[in-house]
Each structure stands twice: as structure tokens, then as C-alpha cells.
Amino acid sequence: MSAATDAVIPRILKTHEAELLEEWLREQLSAFRVGAKIFESELRSQSREFLNLLQQATQGGNVGDVQGPSYGRVRDMLGDISRSRSLQGFSPSETATFVFSLKRPLFARIRKELATDAESLATVTWTATELLDRLGLYTTEVYQKSREEVITRQQQELLELSTPVVKLWDGILALPMIGTLDSARTQVVMESLLQRIVETGADIAIIDITGVPTVDTLTAQHLIKTITAARLMGADCIISGIRPQIAQTIVHLGVDLGAVITKATLADAFRRALDMTGQRERVLKSRA
């Protein structure tokens, strides 16, 4: 590509900045219902800034090199826009349209500029297409990445929320389990339970599985491991909240819960725990 055709895009961006901005804005406004999600004034300032940065970036002469250092600020700005749009609930195509809708006004300018020279027109149009495609793809990438970050954070929060270990009474902990138990969760459950046993010096931990929809061999094995580990540390475990369905499954699977105390409800388990720690009398007295 010759230097002459290379300079066309920066020149157009510089000389026709105002017209480009207006036409581009019109394109964007027709592309989606702007009023619903974003204000026109905000869109205008974003577009103006982008054109400005793009002009600076292409000024150096390397129009196609989107990953290069001269595009650093353009990339930063596009990244910010994509991130904020993904958080605002824009779809990926709506986000990418921001860049792609610049094509029509820009191409129109190029055509007007190089009307007489078909060869250069094709070259420059191709360069512009490549440039805008890359920038558009970049916005999509950032969009997706920020979505993934949100999902990862939510997973982490869910994991922490779903495994609370609560102290019921002196020396009695309860662990209400909710949701399906997979290996990663069971590991967290086991660790947090054992850690709390150390911290509180609890003698008894009640594992309540009322909120666990299904129990399979793996889940049962995890439960048994947790109970064994607690026993090794010197704390006893009671399982409560076993539903009829789950009781049937456990027996059908041949899981041996023989050594484990099981109770139908958390209340029963708590009563048993009070008995075991010799605190029942005290509790009854305090209620009277």
C-alpha cells in the first residue's frame, strides 16, 4: 500500500470530523432505540471522543495495526464502553454496532474523496473495513470478558452464601446445606465446618440436608468424609432433614450410615445435641 492511500483515512477523519460525527450518530440512533438505554448526549460525547482518538491513532501512519501502541487509548476507551454497556444490559451486537455503524459514513466520505481513482478506492475501503472490523471484534471480546467476570464473581458469592456454619448453642454448630452438592462445594463445606469447629471448640455439628434435592453415591461419600474428618478432630456429627425419598435412595445405593446419628428434623437433632452435651436441663430451666 502506498503512502498516498495510507494517508487518506487520517485526512478524512481530520477534515470531515464534524460531518462524520453527525452521520455516524444518525446511524447509531437508527440502529437501536437509544432512549431506552442510553442518552443521546452520552452517545454523542462517546462518539466524539472515539473519533478524536481514532484520528490521533491513525495519524502516525499505521492504520491497520490495532494491537499496536498507537491504538492504546482507542482500545482503552472501547474497553470502557464495552464494559459499561455489558453491565447496562446491552446485547453484544448492540455493543459492536457502535463501531460498525461508523462504516457507512466513513465509506461514503472515502468514495467522495477518491471518486476518480478506482484502484485506490478499493484499497482504502479495504483498509477501513479491516480497521473497523478489528475494533468491533475487540469490543465484543471485552464485552464477553466482562460478562464472564460477572459470572465468576456471582459463582464465588453463591458458593460463600450457600455454606454458612452457624452456632446454635454452646458447643453446637449447625450447617444447613442448600442446593446440589458437587465436589468443589463439598470441599468448601468441609473446610469451613472443620475451621469453625476449631474456632468455636464445638463438640457437635448438625448437618441439615433439608435443602439438598438429591443424594447420590458421590454426595453420600462426601458427607461421610466430612463426618469422619469431624470425628477425627473430636467432634460428633448428626445428620438431619433426610427426606423419605432420600432415605430410600440411601438404602437402595447401599450407603452405610450406620455409625452416624440421623434425625428427621433439625429440631430433633438439636434436642439430641443438647442431651449429648448435657445442656438440656439448663435449657429447660431457662425457659421456665
Binding site: L194, D203, K225, A229, A230, L232, M233, G234
Partner: protein
Amino acid sequence: MDRIPILKLRGLLLVSIQVDMHDRLAMQLQDELTQKISETGARGVLIDISSLDIVDSFIGRMIANIAAMARVLDAETVVVGMQPAVAITLVELGLNLPGVRTALNVDKGMAMLESATRDLEDLPDADARHKE
């Protein structure tokens, strides 16, 4: 050379493992503890492993073995203060230490041993004590 001290406290033996357990040390502890139990006629052994934060399968087995040997020599054994990480490791290794008594800390282990050994002593003359 590290040594694990074995302390005699009333009728009980107190073993507190404060150093990194390695294989030779575990073997040595096994020898000395069995020796000491038969020497002193202790009725209870308390093994404190609260400072132990790494175990492998060998050490896990040694702990189980030592506890089993002590029981054969007619001494109740309580393992106290196991760290969560150690407990998880032992479970994952499939070492459930069946038959070994456990307690959260030395205090609770001591209470457990005392009640266990007192029960034994009390059996013949429980009635006599009631009359006093």
C-alpha cells in the same frame, strides 16, 4: 536429635508432638510409648497433635498403630487437637482411625480419659461409694 517427650501425669501419659513428624521419629515414639505404658502401668494415653500440620500416609498409619498398641496394653488412648487440614488429608487417604478416640483439645481429652478410667476403677466398689 529430636525426641518427643512422654510425660506421666497421675495415671496418664501425655504425649505432645511439637516437632515435624518424620518416619524415624514416629518409629521411636512407638517404641518408647509402648515401653513406658508397660513400665508405668498407665491406664490412659493422651496424644496431642495440635502442632502437627502435615501428615502423610505413613504418619497417619503410625498414629493409628500407636493408638491401637496402647489399647492392646490396656490404656485408653485419645488423640486430641487434630488440625482441619490433617483431618481432611487422613480422610482422603482412607485412614479413618477406627476405634481411636478423639477430642478437640487437651482439656476435653483429659476429661474424656479421666471419666473413662474412673468408670473402670469405680466398677467394683461403686455401691460402697454411694453409701458414703
